[in-house]
């Protein structure tokens, strides 16, 4: 970082003189690279840095925030002067900066130390598998996104904590074309690790699956709209919990009273076979951090236990409104955002059912093998999710592939609709966008069944 600890202390010493009661500096230096391959050619490699400082002052829950990429003492003090003008009260107390806690990311192959041609060779192998798997594949896409984010958080309560976040993500895509019809297949895996992600995950198998998925879509029928039971498969299927329940459990929604879960701790909010967590420190996980963006160690937060609401995800500022401590859940995309409560690796815990039994016991419904994206309005609880790969279930068996299914519902009802939970928990990775920007998160669940949900689609009798 460009400023010394002494300089940072000197800046913080100025932060509270006009009456703020908390001041924080968030320094960031991020290097990222995207390597893109299309149809067996390396089409682009782009590099970038994100570098700057965010300054935050609080008084109670009132906040002022400023950011700049000019990281000099004079510039930060200038920004601070602007922010301090918002307060006019007795000076707050500044504690001396403490010492940073140590951490070990155990990165085996830091992306800076792997030659570019070794990366492109590996990616070319995978891209070739997609392209050559079938003559109907007209576009094979393989991207490697690598990011190393170095941060330093210092505040007037004495926190002085650095962290290093190392992310690798591989995105595979396929476009299949038959006559006029074009369909897409897509899959991605991301981890908190370096180039060793290629030793951890079988991307060749994933390449075949993605190509196959695009081909299968060519024969998929439009699903007939209606209300029906839906079995949502494990892994990225957990996005339903993330959107419908995770966001409304964030303190940003709770503190303003804008969530159906306000005041419901200790009450039944889900069917009793549902337990759920948000864990900030799953080893190697895409959604993991050693320390959150306020410098607190991340932790495993129990959200729901046997259907009973147990807790929320809380950051410092909203915690002040709610009179509770942070749960290590404060996150931001970069120094350009003030932090707020966000998820890390959120999941529904394993149940006792077997996936095969759930399908077998379903007379008629939709098997949502893969979900695409979705959104939720935390204030109303209304959500939607696209099904990117789906099959009909008829008399306990998977039958036709279907496309175009969209699930909609309300977050406060949906958890009660879960009547089966399998024992095959897996995670999927995504980028979650909200007030404090776009951040890497895991979603996760075992296979679950919803008794009924509205399914939109194009099909007609």
């Amino acid at each position: 970082m460009k400023l010394s600890k002494n300089e940072i202390q000197e800046i913080l010493n100025q932060a509270l003189v006009t009456g703020a009661d908390f001041g924080e500096l968030f320094f960031e230096n991020t290097l990222s690279s995207v390597i893109s391959l299309k149809n067996k050619e390396v089409t682009n490699i782009s590099i970038g840095n994100v570098s700057g400082v965010g300054v935050r002052l609080l008084k109670g829950s009132d906040e002022v925030y400023g950011y700049t990429n000019d990281v000099t003492k004079a510039s930060v003090l200038g920004l601070l002067e602007q922010l301090k003008a918002s307060f006019n009260d007795v000076a707050g107390k500044v504690y001396p900066l403490g010492n940073a806690l140590s951490f070990n990311n155990n990165i085996k192959k830091p992306f800076d130390q792997v030659p570019t041609n070794e990366k492109t060779r590996k990616l070319l192998e995978i891209n070739t598998i997609i392209k050559d798997s079938n003559d109907l594949i007209v576009q094979a896409i393989t991207n490697l996104i690598e990011t190393k984010q170095d941060v330093l958080i210092a505040n007037t309560e004495g926190i002085y904590q650095n962290d290093e976040r190392v992310y690798s993500r591989v995105v595979l895509g396929a476009v299949a074309k038959r006559e006029e019809q074009m369909e897409q297949g897509y899959e991605s895996q991301g981890r908190f690790m370096g180039f060793e992600i290629f030793d951890e995950i079988d991307f060749k198998a994933m390449a075949n699956e993605v190509a196959e998925s695009a081909i299968k879509q060519l024969d998929a029928k439009d699903i007939k709209a209606g209300v029906m039971p839906v079995v949502i498969h494990n892994g990225f299927g957990g996005v339903i919990f993330h959107e419908a329940c995770g966001h409304p459990l964030e303190a940003s929604a709770i503190a303003k009273g804008l969530s159906p879960f306000v005041g419901k701790v200790g009450e039944k909010v889900a069917s009793e076979i549902v337990s759920a967590y948000d864990n900030g420190n799953v080893p190697g996980a895409w959604g993991r951090l050693n320390f959150d963006d306020e410098g607190h160690p991340t932790q495993n937060n129990l959200l729901i236990e046997n259907g009973i609401l147990k807790g929320y995800l809380i950051d410092k500022r909203n915690g002040r409104t709610m009179n509770t401590n942070s749960t290590g859940s404060s996150r931001r995309q970069s120094y350009k955002y003030s932090p707020t409560s966000r998820m890390n690796s959120t999941f529904i815990a394993n149940g006792k059912d077997k996936y095969e039994d759930i399908i077998r016991d379903t007379k008629y419904g939709l098997f949502a093998k893969k979900l695409g994206g979705g959104t939720v309005n935390p204030a109303t609880g209304e959500f939607n999710f696209a099904v990117s790969e789906g099959y009909m279930i008829e008399d306990g068996k998977l039958t036709d592939a279907v496309k175009g299914a969209m699930l909609i519902g309300n977050g406060k009802d949906i958890l009660f609709e879960i009547d089966r939970v399998a024992d095959n928990l897996e995670f999927g990775q995504g980028m979650c966008g909200a007030a404090s920007g776009s951040i890497p998160v895991d979603v996760g669940q075992p296979t679950i069944r919803l008794k009924k949900i509205t399914v939109g689609g194009l099909g007609n009798e």
Partner: protein, 439 residues
Amino acid sequence: MNKNIYQNWIDKGLSKGLTDVEIYAVERTSLSIDVYDGKVEKNEVSKLHTALIKGIFDGKATKIKVEDLSYEAVDDLLDRMLDSLKNITANEPALIFEGSNAYPTVDDKVFDFSKVAPVDKVNLLFEIEEKIQANEFINKVETVSYSESESKTVIVNSKGLNLSRHHTYATVYAVGIYTKDNQTKSGLSYQIVKDFSDINSEKIVLDNIKEGVSQLGGKTVASKIYPIVFSNEMFGNILEVFTDIFTGEAAFRHLTKLVGKEDTLIANPIVNLIDDPLFEKALFKVPFDDEGVACEKRYWIKDGKFTGFVHNLKTAEIYKTKSTGNGFTVGITPTNLYLEPQDKSFNEVISDIKEGIYITDLVGLHAGVETISGDFSLQAAGFLIKDGNVTRPVDMIVVSGNFFTMIKDIEAITNDFIFGLSGIGTGSVRVKGLTVAGE
């Protein structure tokens, strides 16, 4: 002063072996204020000076994004850029542009929002909050927000291009949460202005209440095919998602079904989709794109016929044509794209609908749309149209269709033309029939 820095970077890049270098630099300051519950809840200021550096080596091009402008950091990134360029294998045109012969003149207002006293901005927000709060169905005013931004953009390159732009604008928006009989709905209203005195707080209040309250009591409908009227704002959102399929990049990458459809009818002949950089009703006039190419008015669809792909420098070279001035840093995008309205009022257009749905809200546009196949399935809300009149609110439905089929089935474009939040201009649009999932 800054131009000297840029020239240094260009020189540095050339000395490392790059054959061409271009700098796209932005200096931006911003202010945003949120009020909540009668208090300033958040006050944010920023000052950024960032750059994109494009380099060409051995006929290959790439860009680096620079926020750390120190000599060492830029030097390191230029080395990385060179390494990247040596590992790119695709033979695609790599170009920078010396400049167009002439650029359209734009008499754009550059209002200095920082001259308005902060207290006036805050009071404006309090006034809006208070008036929305007075509504009988209000549960909470979630936020009322003001933000202003000033940006100065410079494009310079080793071929002598030297252009700059200067923009200021402000946005005001409000989110109100309305409740009745245990049902909660949100209202969003906004205004984007280029002069502080243009802010119409009364309209922001009324729009918010109208949107929130009118949805209360919403129920679903029976699942079947209905004639659909999309509001101007929502049809703009749909068009925005599909702009990419009109680009040379999508054509070259096999990511659009429009390849081979040039000069053929792809939409109802009443459809004229026009990109006009200097369109009088648009908020921003755009004299040149981010590659320094002069922008020009162009039909994307004329009388229902697809007129051909739009290009940046690279895809123009691939298709042996000229850039259409749509090369922006985010990709090939329109400037001021709009669907030409017909001379028909909204009421006129719905008058013969026996039972249909007027859609005023679509959620999850990026998740529920496949731009290649054109299929979409979207959470929606709006109103039931009964015997030619807009009647009760409708919510929690999914509307599904296919974009390519739908634009052939456009029956009318009403004269309630706006440039919405999507940045695309259109009136409300009636389409023959789409599948609706309800109960």
